[in-house]
Symmetry: C2
Subunit: 308 residues, 2 copies
Amino acid sequence: MKVATWSEIESVLPEIDVVAAIESAFAAYSRGDAVIPPVGEMHLGAGEVHLKYGYLRGGDHYVVKIASGFYNNAAFGLPSSNGMMLLFDQRTGAPVAVLLDEGKLTDARTAAAGAVAAKHLAPTVQCIGIVGTGIQARLQLQYLARVTPCRKVVVWGRRPVAAQQFMADLPGWDVEIAEDLTDLCGRANLIVTTTPSQVPLITQVRPGTHITAVGSDTPQKQEISVEVLANADVVVADSLAQCALRGEISQAVRAGVFQMSSVVELGAVIAGKGGRTHPDQVTIADLTGVAVQDLAITDAVYRALQHT
Amino acid sequence: MKVATWSEIESVLPEIDVVAAIESAFAAYSRGDAVIPPVGEMHLGAGEVHLKYGYLRGGDHYVVKIASGFYNNAAFGLPSSNGMMLLFDQRTGAPVAVLLDEGKLTDARTAAAGAVAAKHLAPTVQCIGIVGTGIQARLQLQYLARVTPCRKVVVWGRRPVAAQQFMADLPGWDVEIAEDLTDLCGRANLIVTTTPSQVPLITQVRPGTHITAVGSDTPQKQEISVEVLANADVVVADSLAQCALRGEISQAVRAGVFQMSSVVELGAVIAGKGGRTHPDQVTIADLTGVAVQDLAITDAVYRALQHT
Protein backbone atom coordinates (compact mmCIF):
# COMPACT_ATOMS: atom_id res chain seq x y z
CA MET A 1 0.00 0.00 0.00
CA LYS A 2 1.22 3.45 -0.96
CA VAL A 3 1.11 6.45 1.40
CA ALA A 4 2.06 9.67 -0.39
CA THR A 5 2.43 13.21 0.91
CA TRP A 6 1.50 16.29 -1.08
CA SER A 7 5.10 16.93 -2.12
CA GLU A 8 5.32 13.44 -3.67
CA ILE A 9 1.94 13.90 -5.36
CA GLU A 10 2.87 17.35 -6.61
CA SER A 11 6.06 15.99 -8.17
CA VAL A 12 4.15 13.57 -10.45
CA LEU A 13 1.22 15.88 -11.25
CA PRO A 14 2.92 17.47 -14.29
CA GLU A 15 3.13 14.00 -15.89
CA ILE A 16 -0.66 13.69 -15.84
CA ASP A 17 -3.08 15.15 -18.36
CA VAL A 18 -5.62 16.04 -15.66
CA VAL A 19 -8.01 17.78 -18.06
CA ALA A 20 -8.18 14.69 -20.31
CA ALA A 21 -8.61 12.39 -17.28
CA ILE A 22 -11.48 14.51 -15.92
CA GLU A 23 -13.10 14.79 -19.35
CA SER A 24 -13.10 11.05 -19.79
CA ALA A 25 -14.37 10.55 -16.21
CA PHE A 26 -17.40 12.75 -16.91
CA ALA A 27 -18.06 10.91 -20.17
CA ALA A 28 -17.96 7.55 -18.36
CA TYR A 29 -20.23 8.93 -15.62
CA SER A 30 -22.87 10.14 -18.08
CA ARG A 31 -22.72 6.82 -19.95
CA GLY A 32 -23.83 5.21 -16.69
CA ASP A 33 -20.57 3.37 -16.05
CA ALA A 34 -20.10 4.76 -12.54
CA VAL A 35 -21.65 4.00 -9.17
CA ILE A 36 -21.65 7.20 -7.11
CA PRO A 37 -23.61 7.17 -3.83
CA PRO A 38 -24.94 10.47 -2.47
CA VAL A 39 -22.38 12.86 -0.98
CA GLY A 40 -21.84 12.50 2.77
CA GLU A 41 -21.80 15.73 4.69
CA MET A 42 -20.83 16.75 8.21
CA HIS A 43 -21.12 20.24 9.69
CA LEU A 44 -18.86 21.31 12.52
CA GLY A 45 -18.74 24.56 14.40
CA ALA A 46 -15.79 25.81 12.40
CA GLY A 47 -16.24 24.11 9.03
CA GLU A 48 -17.77 21.42 6.89
CA VAL A 49 -16.63 18.04 5.64
CA HIS A 50 -17.70 16.29 2.44
CA LEU A 51 -17.29 12.60 1.74
CA LYS A 52 -17.39 11.60 -1.89
CA TYR A 53 -16.97 8.01 -2.99
CA GLY A 54 -17.64 5.69 -5.84
CA TYR A 55 -16.25 3.49 -8.58
CA LEU A 56 -16.42 2.64 -12.26
CA ARG A 57 -17.96 -0.76 -12.98
CA GLY A 58 -15.24 -3.12 -14.12
CA GLY A 59 -12.47 -0.80 -12.87
CA ASP A 60 -9.65 -1.71 -10.51
CA HIS A 61 -10.37 0.64 -7.61
CA TYR A 62 -12.93 2.52 -5.64
CA VAL A 63 -12.23 5.94 -4.19
CA VAL A 64 -13.18 7.57 -0.90
CA LYS A 65 -12.41 11.25 -0.66
CA ILE A 66 -12.58 13.35 2.50
CA ALA A 67 -12.51 17.07 1.80
CA SER A 68 -13.02 19.82 4.32
CA GLY A 69 -13.47 23.58 4.26
CA PHE A 70 -12.73 25.44 7.48
CA TYR A 71 -13.13 29.06 6.52
CA ASN A 72 -11.37 30.57 9.56
CA ASN A 73 -8.18 28.56 9.04
CA ALA A 74 -6.30 31.66 7.93
CA ALA A 75 -6.23 32.59 11.63
CA PHE A 76 -4.10 29.46 12.21
CA GLY A 77 -1.96 30.20 9.14
CA LEU A 78 -3.60 27.27 7.32
CA PRO A 79 -5.45 27.05 4.00
CA SER A 80 -9.21 26.55 4.34
CA SER A 81 -9.18 23.26 2.42
CA ASN A 82 -7.84 19.94 3.66
CA GLY A 83 -8.52 16.24 3.36
CA MET A 84 -7.22 13.12 1.68
CA MET A 85 -7.93 10.71 -1.16
CA LEU A 86 -8.12 6.95 -0.55
CA LEU A 87 -7.98 4.21 -3.14
CA PHE A 88 -9.13 0.63 -2.46
CA ASP A 89 -9.14 -2.61 -4.43
CA GLN A 90 -12.54 -3.26 -6.00
CA ARG A 91 -12.17 -7.05 -5.65
CA THR A 92 -11.10 -7.25 -2.00
CA GLY A 93 -11.56 -3.90 -0.25
CA ALA A 94 -7.82 -3.78 0.50
CA PRO A 95 -6.39 -0.23 0.71
CA VAL A 96 -4.22 0.60 -2.29
CA ALA A 97 -3.22 4.20 -1.67
CA VAL A 98 -3.56 6.98 0.90
CA LEU A 99 -2.89 10.28 -0.82
CA LEU A 100 -2.36 12.96 1.82
CA ASP A 101 -3.16 15.69 -0.67
CA GLU A 102 -4.35 18.29 1.88
CA GLY A 103 -7.37 18.93 -0.35
CA LYS A 104 -5.16 19.97 -3.25
CA LEU A 105 -6.21 17.17 -5.62
CA THR A 106 -9.78 18.33 -5.05
CA ASP A 107 -8.67 21.83 -6.01
CA ALA A 108 -6.95 20.44 -9.13
CA ARG A 109 -9.78 18.21 -10.32
CA THR A 110 -12.25 21.07 -9.74
CA ALA A 111 -10.15 23.45 -11.82
CA ALA A 112 -9.74 20.79 -14.52
CA ALA A 113 -13.53 20.40 -14.64
CA GLY A 114 -13.75 24.15 -15.26
CA ALA A 115 -11.41 23.73 -18.23
CA VAL A 116 -13.51 20.83 -19.55
CA ALA A 117 -16.70 22.91 -19.22
CA ALA A 118 -15.09 25.90 -20.99
CA LYS A 119 -13.69 23.70 -23.76
CA HIS A 120 -17.13 22.32 -24.60
CA LEU A 121 -19.40 25.26 -23.79
CA ALA A 122 -17.62 28.64 -24.01
CA PRO A 123 -17.78 30.81 -27.11
CA THR A 124 -14.48 32.15 -28.51
CA VAL A 125 -13.07 33.59 -25.31
CA GLN A 126 -12.29 37.33 -25.39
CA CYS A 127 -11.95 37.98 -21.69
CA ILE A 128 -12.12 35.68 -18.68
CA GLY A 129 -14.00 36.98 -15.64
CA ILE A 130 -12.92 35.42 -12.36
CA VAL A 131 -15.14 35.87 -9.32
CA GLY A 132 -13.12 35.24 -6.18
CA THR A 133 -9.41 35.59 -5.50
CA GLY A 134 -8.47 32.39 -3.67
CA ILE A 135 -6.62 29.24 -4.65
CA GLN A 136 -9.46 27.98 -6.86
CA ALA A 137 -9.58 31.30 -8.73
CA ARG A 138 -5.88 30.96 -9.60
CA LEU A 139 -6.13 27.28 -10.50
CA GLN A 140 -9.07 27.91 -12.82
CA LEU A 141 -6.84 30.21 -14.89
CA GLN A 142 -3.98 27.73 -14.80
CA TYR A 143 -6.21 24.97 -16.22
CA LEU A 144 -8.12 27.26 -18.61
CA ALA A 145 -4.77 28.12 -20.19
CA ARG A 146 -4.75 24.54 -21.48
CA VAL A 147 -7.99 24.99 -23.45
CA THR A 148 -8.03 28.66 -24.53
CA PRO A 149 -5.31 31.04 -25.77
CA CYS A 150 -7.04 34.00 -24.05
CA ARG A 151 -4.86 35.62 -21.37
CA LYS A 152 -7.06 38.64 -20.69
CA VAL A 153 -8.66 38.50 -17.24
CA VAL A 154 -10.92 40.68 -15.18
CA VAL A 155 -11.18 39.74 -11.52
CA TRP A 156 -13.56 40.64 -8.69
CA GLY A 157 -13.11 39.90 -5.02
CA ARG A 158 -14.90 40.95 -1.86
CA ARG A 159 -11.66 42.41 -0.50
CA PRO A 160 -9.87 44.84 -2.89
CA VAL A 161 -6.48 43.98 -1.37
CA ALA A 162 -6.98 40.31 -2.27
CA ALA A 163 -7.78 41.29 -5.87
CA GLN A 164 -4.59 43.40 -5.96
CA GLN A 165 -2.58 40.39 -4.72
CA PHE A 166 -4.28 38.13 -7.26
CA MET A 167 -3.20 40.51 -10.04
CA ALA A 168 0.36 40.66 -8.71
CA ASP A 169 0.57 36.86 -8.44
CA LEU A 170 -0.27 36.22 -12.10
CA PRO A 171 2.52 37.49 -14.33
CA GLY A 172 1.93 36.43 -17.92
CA TRP A 173 -1.76 37.22 -17.57
CA ASP A 174 -3.29 40.57 -18.50
CA VAL A 175 -5.31 41.01 -15.30
CA GLU A 176 -7.54 43.97 -14.46
CA ILE A 177 -9.63 44.47 -11.37
CA ALA A 178 -13.34 44.89 -12.00
CA GLU A 179 -15.06 47.94 -10.52
CA ASP A 180 -17.90 45.70 -9.50
CA LEU A 181 -19.69 42.56 -10.67
CA THR A 182 -21.70 44.47 -13.27
CA ASP A 183 -18.42 45.72 -14.75
CA LEU A 184 -17.04 42.14 -14.74
CA CYS A 185 -20.14 40.72 -16.42
CA GLY A 186 -20.00 43.49 -19.03
CA ARG A 187 -16.39 42.74 -19.99
CA ALA A 188 -15.94 38.94 -19.71
CA ASN A 189 -17.61 36.37 -21.93
CA LEU A 190 -16.28 33.43 -19.93
CA ILE A 191 -17.05 33.85 -16.24
CA VAL A 192 -15.89 31.47 -13.53
CA THR A 193 -17.34 31.85 -10.02
CA THR A 194 -15.22 30.37 -7.24
CA THR A 195 -16.59 31.66 -3.93
CA PRO A 196 -18.47 30.05 -1.00
CA SER A 197 -21.11 32.79 -1.28
CA GLN A 198 -24.63 32.15 -0.02
CA VAL A 199 -26.09 35.15 -1.88
CA PRO A 200 -26.18 35.46 -5.68
CA LEU A 201 -23.26 37.47 -7.08
CA ILE A 202 -24.06 37.17 -10.80
CA THR A 203 -27.43 38.77 -11.43
CA GLN A 204 -27.21 39.68 -15.10
CA VAL A 205 -25.07 38.64 -18.07
CA ARG A 206 -24.81 39.71 -21.68
CA PRO A 207 -25.62 37.38 -24.61
CA GLY A 208 -22.78 35.11 -25.64
CA THR A 209 -21.58 34.48 -22.10
CA HIS A 210 -20.57 31.17 -20.60
CA ILE A 211 -20.54 30.84 -16.80
CA THR A 212 -18.85 28.02 -14.95
CA ALA A 213 -20.05 28.01 -11.34
CA VAL A 214 -17.74 25.99 -9.11
CA GLY A 215 -18.30 27.59 -5.70
CA SER A 216 -21.65 26.13 -4.72
CA ASP A 217 -21.53 22.50 -3.68
CA THR A 218 -24.19 22.54 -0.96
CA PRO A 219 -27.92 23.30 -0.90
CA GLN A 220 -27.12 26.63 0.81
CA LYS A 221 -24.36 28.14 -1.32
CA GLN A 222 -25.31 30.23 -4.36
CA GLU A 223 -23.33 32.47 -6.71
CA ILE A 224 -25.78 32.93 -9.62
CA SER A 225 -29.27 34.38 -9.34
CA VAL A 226 -32.06 31.96 -10.11
CA GLU A 227 -33.25 34.38 -12.85
CA VAL A 228 -29.90 34.23 -14.70
CA LEU A 229 -30.01 30.47 -14.49
CA ALA A 230 -33.65 30.23 -15.56
CA ASN A 231 -33.01 32.52 -18.56
CA ALA A 232 -29.87 30.72 -19.78
CA ASP A 233 -30.11 28.95 -23.13
CA VAL A 234 -28.16 25.91 -22.01
CA VAL A 235 -27.75 24.70 -18.42
CA VAL A 236 -25.28 21.89 -17.81
CA ALA A 237 -24.83 19.84 -14.61
CA ASP A 238 -21.75 17.84 -13.74
CA SER A 239 -24.21 15.34 -12.21
CA LEU A 240 -27.99 15.45 -12.63
CA ALA A 241 -28.45 13.53 -9.40
CA GLN A 242 -26.22 15.83 -7.35
CA CYS A 243 -27.34 19.11 -8.93
CA ALA A 244 -30.96 18.31 -8.10
CA LEU A 245 -29.93 18.45 -4.42
CA ARG A 246 -27.04 20.95 -4.21
CA GLY A 247 -25.52 23.82 -6.18
CA GLU A 248 -26.97 26.56 -8.41
CA ILE A 249 -29.46 24.37 -10.26
CA SER A 250 -31.00 23.09 -7.02
CA GLN A 251 -31.57 26.71 -5.92
CA ALA A 252 -33.44 27.58 -9.12
CA VAL A 253 -35.47 24.37 -8.97
CA ARG A 254 -36.44 25.04 -5.34
CA ALA A 255 -37.37 28.61 -6.30
CA GLY A 256 -39.79 27.15 -8.84
CA VAL A 257 -38.33 29.02 -11.82
CA PHE A 258 -36.50 26.11 -13.41
CA GLN A 259 -36.92 22.39 -14.03
CA MET A 260 -34.42 19.54 -13.91
CA SER A 261 -35.78 18.36 -17.27
CA SER A 262 -34.05 21.36 -18.90
CA VAL A 263 -30.61 20.27 -17.69
CA VAL A 264 -28.08 18.32 -19.76
CA GLU A 265 -25.20 16.47 -18.12
CA LEU A 266 -21.60 17.53 -18.81
CA GLY A 267 -20.62 14.02 -19.90
CA ALA A 268 -23.42 14.09 -22.48
CA VAL A 269 -22.15 17.43 -23.81
CA ILE A 270 -18.66 15.91 -24.05
CA ALA A 271 -20.22 13.07 -26.08
CA GLY A 272 -21.76 15.64 -28.43
CA LYS A 273 -25.30 15.42 -27.05
CA GLY A 274 -26.35 19.00 -26.26
CA GLY A 275 -24.44 22.17 -25.53
CA ARG A 276 -23.98 25.56 -27.17
CA THR A 277 -25.40 25.89 -30.70
CA HIS A 278 -24.96 29.65 -31.24
CA PRO A 279 -22.30 32.19 -30.19
CA ASP A 280 -24.94 34.49 -28.65
CA GLN A 281 -26.35 31.88 -26.31
CA VAL A 282 -25.87 32.07 -22.57
CA THR A 283 -24.55 28.78 -21.21
CA ILE A 284 -24.06 27.81 -17.57
CA ALA A 285 -22.14 24.84 -16.20
CA ASP A 286 -22.95 24.03 -12.57
CA LEU A 287 -20.09 22.04 -11.07
CA THR A 288 -20.78 20.53 -7.66
CA GLY A 289 -17.88 18.08 -7.80
CA VAL A 290 -18.45 14.39 -8.51
CA ALA A 291 -16.59 11.42 -7.05
CA VAL A 292 -15.68 10.20 -10.57
CA GLN A 293 -13.34 13.20 -10.71
CA ASP A 294 -11.74 12.13 -7.45
CA LEU A 295 -11.43 8.58 -8.74
CA ALA A 296 -9.88 9.74 -12.03
CA ILE A 297 -7.26 12.03 -10.52
CA THR A 298 -6.41 9.65 -7.67
CA ASP A 299 -6.07 6.71 -10.05
CA ALA A 300 -3.84 8.77 -12.37
CA VAL A 301 -1.65 9.99 -9.50
CA TYR A 302 -1.37 6.46 -8.10
CA ARG A 303 -0.26 5.13 -11.49
CA ALA A 304 2.28 7.93 -11.89
CA LEU A 305 3.63 7.24 -8.38
CA GLN A 306 4.16 3.58 -9.34
CA HIS A 307 6.79 4.71 -11.87
CA THR A 308 8.74 6.92 -9.46
CA MET B 1 0.28 13.45 11.38
CA LYS B 2 0.51 9.82 12.51
CA VAL B 3 0.23 6.87 10.11
CA ALA B 4 0.09 3.56 11.98
CA THR B 5 -0.08 -0.02 10.73
CA TRP B 6 -2.03 -2.78 12.42
CA SER B 7 1.04 -4.15 14.18
CA GLU B 8 1.68 -0.74 15.81
CA ILE B 9 -1.98 -0.41 16.74
CA GLU B 10 -2.10 -3.96 18.10
CA SER B 11 0.90 -3.26 20.32
CA VAL B 12 -0.87 -0.43 22.19
CA LEU B 13 -4.33 -2.02 22.32
CA PRO B 14 -3.67 -3.87 25.63
CA GLU B 15 -3.04 -0.47 27.30
CA ILE B 16 -6.58 0.64 26.47
CA ASP B 17 -9.74 -0.19 28.41
CA VAL B 18 -11.78 -0.57 25.22
CA VAL B 19 -14.95 -1.69 27.04
CA ALA B 20 -14.90 1.42 29.25
CA ALA B 21 -14.19 3.67 26.25
CA ILE B 22 -17.10 2.18 24.27
CA GLU B 23 -19.42 2.34 27.29
CA SER B 24 -18.70 6.01 27.79
CA ALA B 25 -19.06 6.68 24.04
CA PHE B 26 -22.58 5.20 24.04
CA ALA B 27 -23.48 7.22 27.13
CA ALA B 28 -22.29 10.43 25.44
CA TYR B 29 -24.19 9.52 22.27
CA SER B 30 -27.47 8.95 24.10
CA ARG B 31 -26.99 12.21 26.03
CA GLY B 32 -27.04 13.94 22.63
CA ASP B 33 -23.39 15.01 22.75
CA ALA B 34 -22.51 13.44 19.38
CA VAL B 35 -23.12 14.44 15.78
CA ILE B 36 -23.38 11.26 13.70
CA PRO B 37 -24.58 11.64 10.08
CA PRO B 38 -26.28 8.67 8.41
CA VAL B 39 -24.05 5.76 7.44
CA GLY B 40 -22.69 5.89 3.88
CA GLU B 41 -22.94 2.68 1.93
CA MET B 42 -21.53 1.39 -1.34
CA HIS B 43 -22.24 -1.98 -2.92
CA LEU B 44 -19.74 -3.58 -5.26
CA GLY B 45 -19.93 -6.82 -7.13
CA ALA B 46 -17.78 -8.61 -4.58
CA GLY B 47 -18.55 -6.80 -1.36
CA GLU B 48 -19.88 -3.80 0.48
CA VAL B 49 -18.33 -0.71 2.03
CA HIS B 50 -19.63 1.30 4.98
CA LEU B 51 -18.57 4.83 5.82
CA LYS B 52 -19.21 5.91 9.38
CA TYR B 53 -18.24 9.35 10.63
CA GLY B 54 -18.98 11.84 13.33
CA TYR B 55 -17.75 13.74 16.34
CA LEU B 56 -18.50 14.70 19.92
CA ARG B 57 -19.38 18.37 20.37
CA GLY B 58 -16.50 20.11 22.11
CA GLY B 59 -14.11 17.23 21.42
CA ASP B 60 -10.72 17.44 19.72
CA HIS B 61 -11.33 15.23 16.67
CA TYR B 62 -13.75 13.90 14.17
CA VAL B 63 -13.52 10.39 12.83
CA VAL B 64 -14.11 8.92 9.38
CA LYS B 65 -14.12 5.15 9.21
CA ILE B 66 -14.08 3.06 6.04
CA ALA B 67 -14.98 -0.57 6.66
CA SER B 68 -15.53 -3.20 4.02
CA GLY B 69 -16.79 -6.77 3.91
CA PHE B 70 -15.82 -8.82 0.87
CA TYR B 71 -17.17 -12.26 1.64
CA ASN B 72 -15.20 -14.17 -1.01
CA ASN B 73 -11.83 -12.88 0.22
CA ALA B 74 -10.94 -16.30 1.64
CA ALA B 75 -10.30 -17.31 -2.00
CA PHE B 76 -7.48 -14.73 -2.05
CA GLY B 77 -6.22 -15.84 1.38
CA LEU B 78 -7.54 -12.59 2.89
CA PRO B 79 -9.94 -11.88 5.75
CA SER B 80 -13.34 -10.59 4.66
CA SER B 81 -13.00 -7.33 6.61
CA ASN B 82 -10.75 -4.43 5.75
CA GLY B 83 -10.67 -0.65 6.00
CA MET B 84 -9.10 2.15 7.97
CA MET B 85 -9.84 4.73 10.66
CA LEU B 86 -9.08 8.41 10.10
CA LEU B 87 -8.89 11.13 12.72
CA PHE B 88 -9.07 14.84 11.90
CA ASP B 89 -8.78 18.06 13.90
CA GLN B 90 -12.22 19.46 14.76
CA ARG B 91 -10.98 23.07 14.57
CA THR B 92 -9.16 22.96 11.22
CA GLY B 93 -9.96 19.74 9.34
CA ALA B 94 -6.27 18.80 9.37
CA PRO B 95 -5.62 15.04 9.39
CA VAL B 96 -4.34 13.82 12.76
CA ALA B 97 -4.03 10.06 12.27
CA VAL B 98 -4.43 7.37 9.62
CA LEU B 99 -4.86 4.04 11.37
CA LEU B 100 -4.40 1.24 8.86
CA ASP B 101 -6.25 -1.18 11.08
CA GLU B 102 -7.43 -3.53 8.28
CA GLY B 103 -10.91 -3.44 9.81
CA LYS B 104 -9.63 -4.85 13.10
CA LEU B 105 -10.51 -1.84 15.25
CA THR B 106 -14.06 -2.21 13.93
CA ASP B 107 -13.94 -5.83 15.04
CA ALA B 108 -12.65 -4.77 18.47
CA ARG B 109 -15.12 -1.95 19.08
CA THR B 110 -17.99 -4.22 17.95
CA ALA B 111 -16.91 -6.93 20.38
CA ALA B 112 -16.50 -4.34 23.14
CA ALA B 113 -20.07 -3.14 22.49
CA GLY B 114 -21.21 -6.73 22.97
CA ALA B 115 -19.51 -6.75 26.36
CA VAL B 116 -21.16 -3.43 27.28
CA ALA B 117 -24.58 -4.78 26.26
CA ALA B 118 -24.08 -8.00 28.25
CA LYS B 119 -22.82 -6.08 31.31
CA HIS B 120 -25.99 -3.97 31.43
CA LEU B 121 -28.62 -6.38 30.11
CA ALA B 122 -27.71 -10.03 30.62
CA PRO B 123 -28.97 -12.02 33.60
CA THR B 124 -26.42 -14.02 35.63
CA VAL B 125 -24.71 -15.81 32.77
CA GLN B 126 -24.80 -19.61 32.95
CA CYS B 127 -23.84 -20.43 29.38
CA ILE B 128 -22.88 -18.23 26.43
CA GLY B 129 -24.30 -19.17 23.04
CA ILE B 130 -22.26 -17.99 20.09
CA VAL B 131 -23.84 -18.03 16.64
CA GLY B 132 -21.12 -17.93 14.01
CA THR B 133 -17.52 -19.09 14.13
CA GLY B 134 -15.54 -16.22 12.59
CA ILE B 135 -13.32 -13.51 14.01
CA GLN B 136 -16.19 -11.61 15.60
CA ALA B 137 -17.42 -14.77 17.32
CA ARG B 138 -14.01 -15.23 18.95
CA LEU B 139 -13.64 -11.55 19.87
CA GLN B 140 -17.05 -11.47 21.51
CA LEU B 141 -15.87 -14.13 23.95
CA GLN B 142 -12.57 -12.33 24.51
CA TYR B 143 -14.41 -9.13 25.49
CA LEU B 144 -17.23 -10.90 27.36
CA ALA B 145 -14.55 -12.40 29.60
CA ARG B 146 -14.01 -8.87 30.94
CA VAL B 147 -17.63 -8.56 32.16
CA THR B 148 -18.67 -12.10 33.15
CA PRO B 149 -16.86 -14.96 34.90
CA CYS B 150 -18.79 -17.53 32.80
CA ARG B 151 -16.48 -19.66 30.59
CA LYS B 152 -19.11 -22.14 29.41
CA VAL B 153 -19.88 -21.75 25.70
CA VAL B 154 -22.08 -23.45 23.17
CA VAL B 155 -21.36 -22.59 19.55
CA TRP B 156 -23.23 -23.01 16.29
CA GLY B 157 -21.85 -22.49 12.79
CA ARG B 158 -23.13 -23.21 9.32
CA ARG B 159 -20.08 -25.39 8.64
CA PRO B 160 -19.40 -28.08 11.31
CA VAL B 161 -15.66 -28.01 10.55
CA ALA B 162 -15.53 -24.28 11.39
CA ALA B 163 -17.26 -24.97 14.72
CA GLN B 164 -14.70 -27.72 15.44
CA GLN B 165 -11.88 -25.27 14.72
CA PHE B 166 -13.54 -22.62 16.89
CA MET B 167 -13.60 -25.10 19.78
CA ALA B 168 -9.96 -26.05 19.22
CA ASP B 169 -8.89 -22.38 19.09
CA LEU B 170 -10.30 -21.49 22.50
CA PRO B 171 -8.39 -23.27 25.24
CA GLY B 172 -9.46 -22.01 28.63
CA TRP B 173 -13.08 -22.00 27.52
CA ASP B 174 -15.47 -24.92 28.04
CA VAL B 175 -16.84 -24.98 24.47
CA GLU B 176 -19.40 -27.39 23.12
CA ILE B 177 -20.87 -27.53 19.65
CA ALA B 178 -24.64 -27.11 19.48
CA GLU B 179 -26.60 -29.75 17.62
CA ASP B 180 -28.63 -26.99 16.07
CA LEU B 181 -29.89 -23.52 16.89
CA THR B 182 -32.77 -24.89 18.97
CA ASP B 183 -30.22 -26.76 21.08
CA LEU B 184 -28.14 -23.58 21.44
CA CYS B 185 -31.13 -21.46 22.47
CA GLY B 186 -32.15 -24.13 24.97
CA ARG B 187 -28.75 -24.15 26.67
CA ALA B 188 -27.45 -20.58 26.58
CA ASN B 189 -28.94 -17.63 28.47
CA LEU B 190 -26.61 -15.09 26.84
CA ILE B 191 -26.66 -15.45 23.05
CA VAL B 192 -24.49 -13.45 20.69
CA THR B 193 -25.21 -13.61 16.95
CA THR B 194 -22.29 -12.68 14.70
CA THR B 195 -23.18 -13.74 11.15
CA PRO B 196 -24.01 -11.85 7.93
CA SER B 197 -27.18 -13.94 7.58
CA GLN B 198 -30.13 -12.59 5.64
CA VAL B 199 -32.56 -15.13 7.06
CA PRO B 200 -33.50 -15.33 10.76
CA LEU B 201 -31.43 -17.87 12.72
CA ILE B 202 -32.92 -17.30 16.19
CA THR B 203 -36.61 -18.12 16.06
CA GLN B 204 -37.37 -18.96 19.69
CA VAL B 205 -35.72 -18.33 23.06
CA ARG B 206 -36.46 -19.33 26.61
CA PRO B 207 -37.35 -16.83 29.37
CA GLY B 208 -34.36 -15.18 31.01
CA THR B 209 -32.34 -14.93 27.80
CA HIS B 210 -30.35 -11.96 26.63
CA ILE B 211 -29.46 -11.75 22.91
CA THR B 212 -26.85 -9.40 21.52
CA ALA B 213 -27.24 -9.23 17.73
CA VAL B 214 -24.13 -7.82 16.10
CA GLY B 215 -24.30 -9.36 12.62
CA SER B 216 -26.97 -7.23 10.97
CA ASP B 217 -25.84 -3.75 10.05
CA THR B 218 -27.83 -3.28 6.83
CA PRO B 219 -31.54 -3.22 5.98
CA GLN B 220 -31.14 -6.69 4.40
CA LYS B 221 -29.28 -8.70 7.04
CA GLN B 222 -31.27 -10.45 9.77
CA GLU B 223 -30.36 -12.99 12.44
CA ILE B 224 -33.40 -12.84 14.75
CA SER B 225 -36.98 -13.50 13.71
CA VAL B 226 -39.30 -10.52 13.94
CA GLU B 227 -41.51 -12.56 16.32
CA VAL B 228 -38.69 -13.10 18.83
CA LEU B 229 -37.93 -9.39 18.68
CA ALA B 230 -41.57 -8.36 18.97
CA ASN B 231 -42.08 -10.65 21.99
CA ALA B 232 -38.96 -9.55 23.87
CA ASP B 233 -39.51 -7.67 27.13
CA VAL B 234 -36.74 -5.14 26.49
CA VAL B 235 -35.34 -4.15 23.10
CA VAL B 236 -32.26 -1.96 23.09
CA ALA B 237 -30.72 -0.15 20.10
CA ASP B 238 -27.16 1.11 19.93
CA SER B 239 -28.64 4.03 17.97
CA LEU B 240 -32.35 4.75 17.61
CA ALA B 241 -31.70 6.65 14.37
CA GLN B 242 -29.66 3.87 12.79
CA CYS B 243 -31.75 0.95 14.03
CA ALA B 244 -34.85 2.49 12.47
CA LEU B 245 -33.14 2.03 9.10
CA ARG B 246 -30.90 -1.04 9.45
CA GLY B 247 -30.48 -4.12 11.62
CA GLU B 248 -32.91 -6.40 13.46
CA ILE B 249 -35.19 -3.68 14.78
CA SER B 250 -35.73 -2.19 11.31
CA GLN B 251 -36.82 -5.61 10.04
CA ALA B 252 -39.45 -5.98 12.76
CA VAL B 253 -40.67 -2.42 12.25
CA ARG B 254 -40.98 -2.95 8.49
CA ALA B 255 -42.83 -6.22 9.15
CA GLY B 256 -45.37 -4.19 11.15
CA VAL B 257 -44.99 -6.25 14.34
CA PHE B 258 -42.96 -3.77 16.35
CA GLN B 259 -42.69 -0.04 16.94
CA MET B 260 -39.65 2.19 17.42
CA SER B 261 -41.39 3.73 20.44
CA SER B 262 -40.72 0.46 22.31
CA VAL B 263 -36.96 0.76 21.89
CA VAL B 264 -34.55 2.15 24.46
CA GLU B 265 -31.06 3.30 23.51
CA LEU B 266 -28.01 1.51 24.93
CA GLY B 267 -26.53 4.75 26.27
CA ALA B 268 -29.76 5.36 28.19
CA VAL B 269 -29.56 1.86 29.71
CA ILE B 270 -25.96 2.60 30.71
CA ALA B 271 -27.24 5.76 32.40
CA GLY B 272 -29.76 3.64 34.33
CA LYS B 273 -32.80 4.61 32.26
CA GLY B 274 -34.42 1.33 31.17
CA GLY B 275 -33.14 -2.21 30.82
CA ARG B 276 -33.78 -5.57 32.44
CA THR B 277 -35.94 -5.49 35.59
CA HIS B 278 -36.46 -9.23 36.15
CA PRO B 279 -34.23 -12.32 35.63
CA ASP B 280 -36.91 -14.03 33.51
CA GLN B 281 -37.20 -11.25 30.97
CA VAL B 282 -36.01 -11.63 27.42
CA THR B 283 -33.76 -8.74 26.42
CA ILE B 284 -32.30 -8.00 23.00
CA ALA B 285 -29.56 -5.56 22.10
CA ASP B 286 -29.41 -4.70 18.40
CA LEU B 287 -25.92 -3.43 17.59
CA THR B 288 -25.55 -1.90 14.13
CA GLY B 289 -22.28 -0.14 14.92
CA VAL B 290 -22.18 3.61 15.57
CA ALA B 291 -19.45 6.06 14.60
CA VAL B 292 -19.06 7.14 18.26
CA GLN B 293 -17.52 3.71 18.82
CA ASP B 294 -15.07 4.33 15.98
CA LEU B 295 -14.28 7.75 17.39
CA ALA B 296 -13.74 6.37 20.89
CA ILE B 297 -11.42 3.54 19.92
CA THR B 298 -9.50 5.60 17.36
CA ASP B 299 -9.04 8.45 19.82
CA ALA B 300 -7.85 6.02 22.50
CA VAL B 301 -5.42 4.28 20.14
CA TYR B 302 -4.10 7.62 18.91
CA ARG B 303 -3.46 8.79 22.48
CA ALA B 304 -1.72 5.51 23.33
CA LEU B 305 0.44 5.80 20.19
CA GLN B 306 1.53 9.27 21.33
CA HIS B 307 3.29 7.68 24.32
CA THR B 308 5.17 5.05 22.31
